[in-house]
Subunit: 254 residues, 2 copies
């Protein structure tokens, strides 16, 4: 049984709390939440605290707060030599206060409020300052059935950038698709099967193999026609740079 | 029973042939293929021709060839006043030779060789020069269980641009994610659940609601750190312009 304390009450904290409560191998001993009502629907009131001094002893303290608050929260913990981890993709392990043994438990996923998360399909990136603590991280990941990877802080930084491309930026391309639809009285619904298939394709093909379209074909007529159609300057620039980048990856066959 | 002739033997043609053969409401009377062996695994040899003069009468001729060949192929047809459609997202109806009655049957999907396509989840964009022919298009779409939309040539052009953003460009962002992983000895596998969830999210949320990440949060520290990490100049430029575009859509709350 792993005794876990969660510090935080936002999106990630709530999804972790739900997953930890479901596991028979985890005892969720306490949740720290400045505003107790944020997590009152998830866990018994007596297990919620908003006072750092009342934090009891645990095998692992999971700080799931916004990136910019991690350092401060970790420094406020009124104990030392315990195992304290954060859950961020972009914050180095060293941002945690060194009075405790430090680690990272980063579930690589985009969390939506009110949409339950299946950790068995979410990979978790693990890192610990001391080898002895790594086993706790592995056990915690396995207790929620998550596939886990040892990822260093340096690797995690790069992974987070990669995640921004495939998640944040991809979602923004969906947004541009919707904007173009709206502009021309087309239902965005019509693009949804294409979006689903585009994501599904690379589960089995490499993105290089899966690439299609005028940029890959170096079909300059279509590219020019598309650029003429775009009325928004930013959309034009995004179209141009992504087209160039695809053409660079797929050199024209002579 | 709709009598259909398919002209072409590429990816889209093959998927349409397969779907047409499955439908009890369609009689696939002939397939024109310059190289007969391209479609020999799909349909009886006597139904394949490589001679325009031997094309028999059909309710609809579906030209599924590359965009640049559509005009030429349609002009080579040795008959007139019959119903001839193409299947392209980016070619106007008018590119078809006007000696026949013209139309468009454009299935909005990315087709992968050897991966069967479920037309019941693929929308089809329909357009006809004459109202009378539109019913044939509707019946054809319904015979393969496809949801269909009346989309004008002007709308279809814009829809095709939108499709390039959500499909071709999105796939290229997956490629960049993979390139970053490769550069830092990270398995691309680790990003696949995130890619799947990103696409899944917008089936129910609007892309605007689904947006997350440092750009949306106007988290300049993380953005700067990411830009420092990127060693590839094109990746940097793509990061910058997509970040600016997201920030423009999500104005900072003061």
């Amino acid at each position: 049984m792993i005794k876990v304390t969660v510090i935080g009450s936002g999106n990630v904290a709530q999804h972790l709390i739900t997953a930890f409560l479901k596991s028979s191998e985890i005892e969720l001993s306490q949740v720290f939440s400045r505003e107790k009502e944020n997590v009152a629907h998830l866990i018994d009131a007596e297990k919620i605290t908003n006072d750092y001094r009342s934090l009891s002893e645990s095998d692992i303290y999971v700080i799931a707060v916004s990136d910019s608050a991690i350092a401060e929260v970790s420094s406020k913990l009124p104990f030392k030599n315990r195992f304290v981890v954060h859950t961020s993709g972009s914050v180095p392990l060293e941002d945690l206060d060194s009075k405790n043994k430090r680690g990272v438990f980063y579930p690589l996923q985009t969390f939506t409020k009110n949409k339950e998360v299946d950790f068995s399909i979410i990979p978790t990136c693990l890192e610990s300052e001391f080898d002895d603590d790594y086993t706790i991280l592995e056990n915690l990941a396995e207790a929620i059935k998550s596939r886990h990877y040892l990822i260093s802080s340096a690797q995690r930084k790069s992974l987070h950038v990669a995640a921004v491309f495939v998640n944040n930026f991809t979602n923004h391309l969906y947004q541009i698709g919707k904007d173009i639809c709206d502009e021309h009285q087309l239902p965005f619904e019509i693009l949804k099967p294409l979006i689903a298939e585009t994501a599904d394709k690379i589960q089995n093909l490499s993105p290089l193999e899966a690439q299609t379209g005028p940029a890959k074909r170096h079909d300059q007529n279509t590219i020019d026609r598309h650029l003429t159609l775009l009325t928004n300057q930013t959309q034009k620039e995004i179209y141009e740079i992504l087209t160039q980048s695809i053409q660079h990856s797929h050199v024209k066959k002579l």
